[in-house]
């Protein structure tokens, strides 16, 4: 079976996505890109650098809080 590596183009796509994401999209990104079952071994994972996405997400979710404004109740 062939072993394939992650593509750099996916990483650029993820960075661009994070640059333009609002709070709700960030939550979606955190779920579908950072979590879920990962099939290892010889399976292709057609994604960006997930660790990079996770690190940037933490900072951006913090920024999303500033966008949301103060004194907001649980949504």
């Amino acid at each position: 079976m062939k072993r394939r590596s992650r593509r750099a183009v996916g990483r650029r796509d993820a960075e661009e996505l994070l640059d333009n994401a609002d709070a709700s999209l960030l939550e979606l990104v955190d779920n579908v890109l950072n979590r879920g079952v990962v099939v290892t071994g010889d399976v292709v994972l057609a994604l960006a650098d997930v660790d990079l996405v996770y690190v940037r997400l933490s900072a951006l979710l913090c920024a999303a809080d500033r966008i949301l404004g103060p004194s907001k109740d649980a949504q």
Partner: protein
């Protein structure tokens, strides 16, 4: 053509899963004690908002057909069914257990934002400043623990992630039975009022993305 894998469901689950992110027909591929819901597509999906949303919508549709579901991370593709089976075979028993844990449940996500206090004492009083920082950190940790303890009885499973990006202090993920989501929401709202000026922001319900680990 390659297989795009959306989610895992219990073996034998049947139903109309609809179509995938490329309008491809979805089907359940048996893999021993579990099944993988797959579609055949001919190119890698782009990491774009519309595509990510489409993936989530497909997973949600699968969750409406199957009472238990384990979402796969976006972009999981294999050459064929044989490669997928090889990749999952060593973990089928663990995946089946994780899958069963999600039965009848959705995921709720809580982001905990802590209020940043006033400036510390004068730098010349370094000891006091250090103590102040330690006390502040302990206080923020206590907020997270309070939320954790208050919601634990309502969750079948829970996990916490700490963050070093103030004011975001922690993220809590809860696996909550659908019948108790209203109760969960009410308790979160009560907590939000109780921990002010700190804040908690809840999103969900989500498919159980954060509970696909095998720990």
């Amino acid at each position: 053509m390659s297989l795009y894998v959306y989610a895992l469901v219990p073996a034998g689950v049947e139903g109309d899963f609809g179509t995938g992110i490329e309008e491809e027909t979805l089907r359940a591929l048996p893999l021993g004690g579990i099944s993988a819901v797959i579609g055949e597509i001919d190119h890698r999906p782009s990491i774009a908002p519309a595509t990510l949303q489409a993936h989530d919508e497909v997973v949600r549709r699968i969750a409406r057909v199957s009472d238990a579901v384990l979402p796969l991370r976006f972009g999981a593709m294999t050459i064929d069914a044989g490669e997928l089976a090889e990749g999952l075979r060593p973990r089928v028993a663990l995946l089946a257990a994780a899958l069963e844990r999600t039965r009848g449940c959705d995921q709720m996500t809580l982001r905990v934002y802590v209020q940043q206090a006033d400036k510390p004492p004068h730098p010349a009083r370094a000891e006091s400043g250090t103590d102040w920082l330690k006390a502040r950190s302990a206080s923020h940790g206590a907020v997270v623990e309070r939320i954790r303890d208050a919601l634990a009885p309502l969750a079948r499973a829970a996990s916490i992630e700490s963050h070093d990006t103030p004011p975001l202090r922690a993220t809590l993920f809860h696996l909550v039975e659908r019948a108790r989501l209203g109760e969960y929401d009410a308790r979160v709202r009560a907590l939000a009022a109780a921990i002010a000026p700190h804040r908690v922001v809840a999103t969900g319900p989500w498919p159980p993305y954060a509970f696909a680990d095998l720990g």
